[in-house]
């Protein structure tokens, strides 16, 4: 198929360019999938004329291979339109129908051909437009996936808050499963916070982490080592009994890492290292607890 030469009479279509464009735009506005709420008439006309002219440009080359160099402009145009429609909130079918609705208007000029040539040309254009529709839908999917990826990224950033507990003490409460990517973000934001606040002690609290496997442990060790390189001490708190068991069963050791059962314990140790301690102002009520 890729080597077939085009049989479409391009000059014939080009002669009726304006008519085809107008009836295509009219067709799009008429159809049930028209979205005048999302796209303005001028944008629609601009996109339509861009696609139609690049389509003719592609046909001029004689090649029918839409993934070939002759169709590069076309792919770029479809890419731009498809991505802009993803952002505008068009559905997949609405986006693909944009291309598919070109069929009828572009077949119109072919009526002048004799029947045998006409059938051949229509068949060819039909296949071509179908393939362009596929390109559009693929780009649309990619656009959607990019949106999802970006949201994932944003969630990552939201889910790793670094909290300043005291002058010189940072806490990083981790919640949810830790994977490599997330640990990377955790590490970066913790180290950056150490620089920004000039803190010398950081407490990583893993109370909200459901499981710890070798990989997660490795990441934690790396984070602690990196913080140490910068001149800050790192402690790990909130290790639940099951997790302590898992860590031992997996044969993981956390060398040179101070671990505490709760964030409160770790905080006391941190205060102690900074030469501070908490005293009860009312010994009576403190004893009553």
């Amino acid at each position: 198929m890729t080597s077939t030469r085009s049989v479409t009479p391009v000059p014939l279509v080009r002669a009726k360019y304006e008519t085809v464009l107008e009836s295509w735009i009219a067709e799009q506005k008429r159809s049930a999938t028209a979205r005048p709420d999302l796209i303005s008439d001028s944008d629609l006309a601009r996109q339509s004329s861009e696609v139609l002219s690049t389509l003719l440009e592609g046909l001029d080359s004689g090649s029918l291979d839409v993934s070939g160099p002759a169709w590069e402009h076309m792919r770029a145009a479809l890419r731009g339109i498809s991505l802009s429609r993803v952002r505008l909130g068009f559905s997949p079918s609405e986006t693909v129908l944009f291309i598919l609705s070109l069929k009828e208007p572009i077949f119109d000029p072919l009526q002048e051909l004799d029947p045998s040539n006409r059938a051949e040309a229509i068949l060819e254009l039909n296949k071509l437009i179908d393939r362009l529709a596929l390109v559009t839908s693929e780009v649309y999917q990619q656009g959607r996936e990019e949106v999802i990826l970006r949201q994932q990224q944003e969630m990552l950033e939201l889910s790793t808050p670094v909290v300043k507990l005291w002058q010189g003490i940072l806490a990083l409460p981790l919640i949810g499963t830790l994977d490599s990517e997330r640990t990377q973000v955790v590490m970066e934001s913790l180290l950056q916070a150490i620089v920004d606040t000039g803190s010398t002690i950081a407490i990583i609290d893993i109370t909200g982490v459901p499981t710890v496997d070798t990989k997660v442990a490795q990441h934690l060790i790396q984070t602690v080592a990196a913080a140490r390189l910068m001149g800050a001490d790192c402690m790990i708190s909130g290790i639940r009994p099951q997790i302590a068991q898992t860590i031992i069963h997996l044969g993981i050791t956390l060398p040179d890492v101070v671990t505490k059962a709760t964030l409160a314990d770790a905080f006391l140790v941190a205060l102690d290292r900074l030469g501070q301690h908490v005293v009860a102002t009312d010994p009576v009520s403190a004893a009553g607890r």
């Binding site: 150490i194 803190s199 010398t200 990196a226 390189l229 910068m230």
Partner: protein
């Protein structure tokens, strides 16, 4: 050739790396520091690398080596102000510089040194 300036402050030496260093500058720093430790009879060297944005395994090794050389000459190195990106890179390279003391900034390094000298 660029050289890393080494400043003597009392009993301490302060070497501040001010740009990303080439390998030959790093080698020169090792030589200079060894000579200066002997000449100044310094017991403590502050190696300020806060301006260092990029490291490779060579520079990482160099930091570890400087610490080792200083130890042989009875001086201690405190690595000061390592940037997050540098720390992450070194950890990923497996160079955790165990045994080398670190500090967030020159001020806290001097505080650490002051405590050490009192003991």
């Amino acid at each position: 050739m660029d050289r890393v300036p080494i400043i003597k402050i009392g009993k301490y030496l302060l070497a501040t790396i001010q740009t990303d260093v080439q390998d030959n500058v790093a080698v020169a720093l090792q030589e200079d520091l060894a000579a200066r430790i002997i000449a100044a009879r310094a017991r403590l060297v502050l190696l300020d690398i806060s301006a260092l944005q990029i490291v490779d395994s060579f520079i990482g090794r160099m930091i570890a080596d400087i610490s080792g050389i200083a130890k042989l000459l009875d001086a201690e190195v405190i690595v000061v102000g390592m940037q997050p990106a540098v720390a992450i890179t070194l950890v990923e390279l497996g160079l955790t510089l165990s045994g080398v003391r670190t500090a967030l900034n020159v001020e806290s390094a001097l505080a650490m040194a002051g405590i050490r000298d009192q003991n």
